[in-house]
């Protein structure tokens, strides 16, 4: 069955052909892994190892006693070389544990997670975070409030960002893990139904999932339109319900997890495996594009090198998808739990240089494109003037930073960047979303 | 002409065709003074509607019951009417201060401006004294007509003020040349707005 899409959104060229059919391969074993203590949203971890200590693959290296957080495990066996402050892809500077791997690595084995009594504890112990990009600790999502029971678990297999194919490959190659993870999550939260939403441009993934799905698991084909994978839009497409402002998705009876997260949940439960590696799509102007199973903490420079190195005319390297990912100023930053792709873009493939002097010609395209029905042009103008009240009046805090507005704007106003400044200023002022 | 039609034309004529702000140049001080924000404009429009209607009603009564019969209206109408308006405004001010301090805080400084708002005096006079302002009203208004006419004038004031406030909100965002920032640009915009209102001239033979 196919569902009408949400209202708004854009149709970027999907650029997935280069990697969509490349099976997942093992990634590099780098000469050093850098494990930021904050690869997730929420409280950063504290290192629990000391410099010089030897760690095993799968051993806990960072943890903190906070509700919203996720522990960090070493993906390699090796020696802790340093505990430093490192720049991450997102631009923040965080504490990181740097491990120099041993000469010989046994990638098949790892330190098993401790036996836990319920799924939530297992997921927490595994350091699982959303692999869809936001890196929100998954365990937190597994404890819905009493008054908003979850009736539908939605697995997000849309992968609406152009270029990225990691979820696609996971769905094709590990359909049974995805379905199993979905079932586990549904059981844990008491949901009666699992719906896997996949965009129509991935027919092989849909077929593979349908082969596995039965009894209470539906695979729903969704139109290809960006940002179909955004949580609120996906819930609307599946349930025809809007997540009320300031509320959690559970208010609509839905819980959304990425398909990769679901597969990782299955691994954590069935194999007691912590989150120490993830599938990353490396594509664009690299010599060997593909989907790699990458050890967390691998430097992006090593990963790119492994994928054959950059072509000479690369102008921009992006961590994540082209619509929401972060452009990298330097490549010696680590792959984190939320890094779904590394894109090397040539000048012709990416945006022109942006100049905030470019005026808004009030064409209204951004208004039409915004899936949150905001007025991005106004948010941008107010943010540019530093008029945060204006940003608040136009509901800037509802922006999901999908980038549709910036994509469509004919004068290439840096709308998302402006709106982000506005949001941060408002949050700093203590305005509630 | 049916009664409804008569009143409708009276209303449209007062509100749009002879818009008090943009085609007749009356009440401009608050037009420029208050229009810098949407909220105060709305408050001012409502205050003007209220004061203007009350003022017209009161002056109509004074004129028809006192001044005209005594034959002293010709030279007393200015002090008489303005006295009524000033008193009304002060009354409203005291009332607001008591009943809604928040509203008073927001509008407090504008209320006294209504006293000195030409529009109120003009509308009240026009609604009462035949032939004043060379409006094409060859006869004196009845009480009902006076009220409808005044409401029309106040509505026209409100429409123009609110649309101008919305315009100025957008002007705030515009990188106008330095010397033009603020009031000069407000005047130039008002000029273009009144250019647009020219098109209303002579509508329905008003």
């Amino acid at each position: 069955m196919t569902r009408a899409a949400f209202k708004g959104g854009v149709h970027p060229h999907d650029s997935k052909a280069a990697t969509a059919q490349r099976p997942i391969e093992a990634g590099p074993i780098p000469s050093r892994v850098v494990l930021p203590m904050s690869m997730h949203l929420g409280a950063p971890c504290e290192p629990v190892v000391a410099v010089g200590e030897h760690v095993e693959r799968g051993q806990l290296v960072g943890d903190v006693d906070a509700m919203v957080s996720a522990p960090v495990h070493s993906p390699v066996s090796g020696k802790v070389d340093a505990i430093t402050r490192r720049l991450t892809a997102g631009g923040s500077i965080v504490t990181a544990v740097e491990v120099v791997p041993d000469e010989v690595q046994d990638l098949a084995s790892f330190v098993l997670l401790p036996e836990e009594h319920d799924l939530k504890a297992t997921v927490r112990a595994a350091g699982l975070v959303g692999l869809g990009g936001a890196a929100f600790p998954s365990a937190v999502k597994l404890s819905p409030a009493k008054d908003t029971p979850v009736s539908t678990v939605i697995l997000n297999g849309c992968e609406c960002e152009p270029y990225l194919t990691c979820d696609h490959r996971v769905m094709v190659e590990h359909a049974e893990r995805v379905v199993a993870g979905g079932r586990l999550i549904a059981d844990a939260v008491g949901a009666s139904r699992v719906v896997i939403g996949v965009e129509s441009n991935k027919p092989d993934a849909i077929a593979a999932l349908r082969d596995e799905a039965n009894g209470g698991v539906d695979v729903l084909e969704l139109p290809t339109r960006y940002p179909q994978g955004a949580e609120k839009q996906l819930i609307w497409a599946v349930l025809r319900k809007e997540v009320p402002k300031g509320k959690l998705p559970a208010a609509t009876g839905a819980l959304v997890h990425n398909v990769g997260t679901a597969a990782a949940v299955a691994d954590a439960v069935e194999h007691r495996k912590p989150l120490i590696e993830r599938v990353v799509t490396v594509t664009g102007a690299v010599r060997r594009p593909g989907n790699y199973r990458v050890l967390l903490g691998t430097l992006i420079s090593d990963l790119v090198e492994f994928a054959g190195g950059l072509e000479d005319d690369v102008e921009r390297v992006v961590a994540g998808g082209p619509m929401t990912g972060a452009a990298l100023g330097r490549l010696d930053v680590p792959v984190q739990k939320g890094t779904s792709g590394v894109l090397a873009l040539r000048a012709a493939d990416c945006t022109r240089a942006i100049d905030d002097d470019q005026p808004c010609i009030r064409c209204g395209r951004c208004v039409e494109a915004c899936p949150m029905f905001l007025q991005p042009f106004a948010l941008g103008s107010y943010a540019l003037l530093g008029d945060w009240n204006g940003v608040e009046r136009y509901h800037g805090l509802d922006c999901i930073e999908c980038g549709s507005c910036g994509f469509i704007c004919p004068t290439r106003r840096p709308l998302v960047q402006l709106i982000r400044s506005g949001k941060q200023a408002l949050l700093a002022k203590g305005v509630k979303p | 002409m049916s009664l409804v039609q008569h009143f409708a034309i009276l209303l449209v004529g007062a509100a749009l065709v002879n818009n008090i702000l943009l085609t007749r140049f009356i009440g401009l001080c608050p037009f420029f003074g208050v229009s810098s924000s949407m909220e105060t404009s709305l408050g001012m429009s409502l205050a003007v509607l209220f004061v203007m209607t009350m003022a017209s009603a009161a002056t109509w009564v004074f004129w028809n019951a006192l001044l005209a019969p005594l034959g002293v209206g010709e030279f007393l109408y200015i002090p008489a009417f303005i006295l009524v308006i000033a008193a009304l405004v002060q009354f409203v001010e005291m009332y607001l201060r008591k009943v809604s301090p928040a509203l008073y805080r927001a509008m407090g400084i504008y209320l006294p401006l209504i006293t000195t708002n030409c529009a109120v005096l003009a509308a009240a006079t026009e609604a009462v004294k035949p032939g004043f302002f060379k409006m094409n009203v060859p006869y004196s208004f009845g009480f009902g007509e006076a009220i409808v006419y005044t409401i029309g004038v106040a509505a026209g004031f409100g429409i123009a003020l609110l649309s101008f406030a919305a315009i100025r909100e957008r002007l705030e965002l515009a990188p106008v040349p330095r010397a033009f920032k603020g009031s000069p640009m407000a005047f130039i915009t008002a000029g273009l707005l009144s250019l647009a209102y020219i098109g209303l001239g002579g509508l329905f033979g008003l």
Partner: protein, 337 residues
């Protein structure tokens, strides 16, 4: 690891990192392209490239481009001619003026349009009133006498017009002028509406330069809608309300849609992004407002045609419309539990 991979100065900007193909310039050029057939036909029909229509086009466009370039140069701002908006303004200014408009009047119109109507407000994107129409309104009001005195009558008779167009090339009064005169003579309308269809559609030499062919204008407008350059709501609201209202007032809706500036205004001027509302509902309201004003002015006003003022009037209301018709933000629903 090569040094090139490790760290190299490259461009960093915020997401999104990809963009749609449309640019400001490409949009403006589409508008120019949609207007071009009408403009070229007008030049050909009204005396060729040395004729008076050509003079109007050249002076208006050169004037607009010149004012913009000069301003930028004097104010030491980056040159903005390339965005194409001044070209569109010049073109539309020319098309809204009568063919024999004196050159100095065209230049004055261009100065007012670009200088007062646009640059003073901060340039492209910030003006509140349609620059071309500000220029036109200023010129027609300032020199109403001069314009009314243009020796139209004799002049058109000397043109060699296509026989097949079947137009009465000698009458000086515009068709709306005829209508207005007829309106004054109370009682039913004595105009033979249908006899005007053909000239209005194919070769109308009375009125402004841009009015020569309603057909070409409509085709241009529909192309812009099909290309997604303009929103259908404004022209639909405008033309729809003109048709419905003029029919309700007992006149011929087709005549009223084809005559005067309605089509040019509805497709190309009311749709100016900068001066019209942004939301879908707001645009419909805006279009209908233009149409209502236009028809009411035609039937009850002092001027035979009021397209200019209808659009300018609604331009003035458009910030208010924008405030009143903001789309509901996704998720701003009453909590349904």
């Amino acid at each position: 690891m090569t040094e090139a991979t490790r760290s190299r100065t490259r461009v960093v900007s915020a997401p999104p990192h990809i963009e749609s193909g449309q640019t400001c310039t490409s949009i403006m050029l589409w508008v120019v392209a949609a207007l071009a057939p009408s403009a070229i036909y007008a030049v050909w029909l009204l005396g060729g490239i040395t004729g008076p229509a050509a003079v109007v086009f050249v002076t208006c466009i050169a004037g607009c481009l010149g004012v913009e370039a000069g301003w930028n140069a004097v104010a030491r701002k980056p040159q903005t001619l390339a965005d194409g908006s001044a070209l569109v303004t010049g073109l539309l200014l020319a098309m809204s003026l009568p063919p024999r408009t004196p050159w100095w009047m065209c230049v004055a119109g261009a100065i007012v349009a670009i200088g007062l109507g646009k640059l003073l407000f901060g340039g492209l994107g910030f003006n509140l009133f349609n620059p071309a129409l500000v220029g036109r309104a200023a010129v027609t009001i300032s020199w109403a006498g001069v314009l009314a005195g243009l020796p139209e009558r004799g002049w058109f008779a000397t043109l060699s017009l296509p026989e097949s167009a079947g137009l009465d090339a000698v009458s000086g009064a515009t068709r709306l002028g005829l209508f207005a005169a007829d309106r004054a003579a109370a009682g039913g309308y004595g105009i033979d509406w249908a006899s005007h269809y053909r000239p209005l559609l194919f070769a109308n030499t009375q009125g402004s330069v841009g009015e020569v062919s309603a057909l070409l204008l409509a085709i241009g407008g529909l192309v812009l809608i099909a290309r997604g350059i303009i929103d259908w709501r404004i022209p639909a609201g405008y033309i729809g309300s003109v048709a419905v209202l003029s029919w309700a007032f007992g006149a011929d809706p087709i005549f009223h849609v084809l005559a005067g500036g309605v089509l040019l205004g509805a497709f190309f001027m009311a749709t100016d992004y900068v001066t019209s509302p942004m939301s879908k509902s707001g645009r419909l309201v805006f279009g209908v407002g233009c149409g209502v004003f236009n028809v009411v002015a035609r039937f009850f006003g002092a001027m035979p045609e009021a397209t200019t003022f209808a659009i300018l009037f609604m331009n003035g209301l458009s910030p208010l419309i924008d405030r009143a018709f903001t789309p509901r933000t996704f998720g701003w629903v009453k909590a349904s539990d």
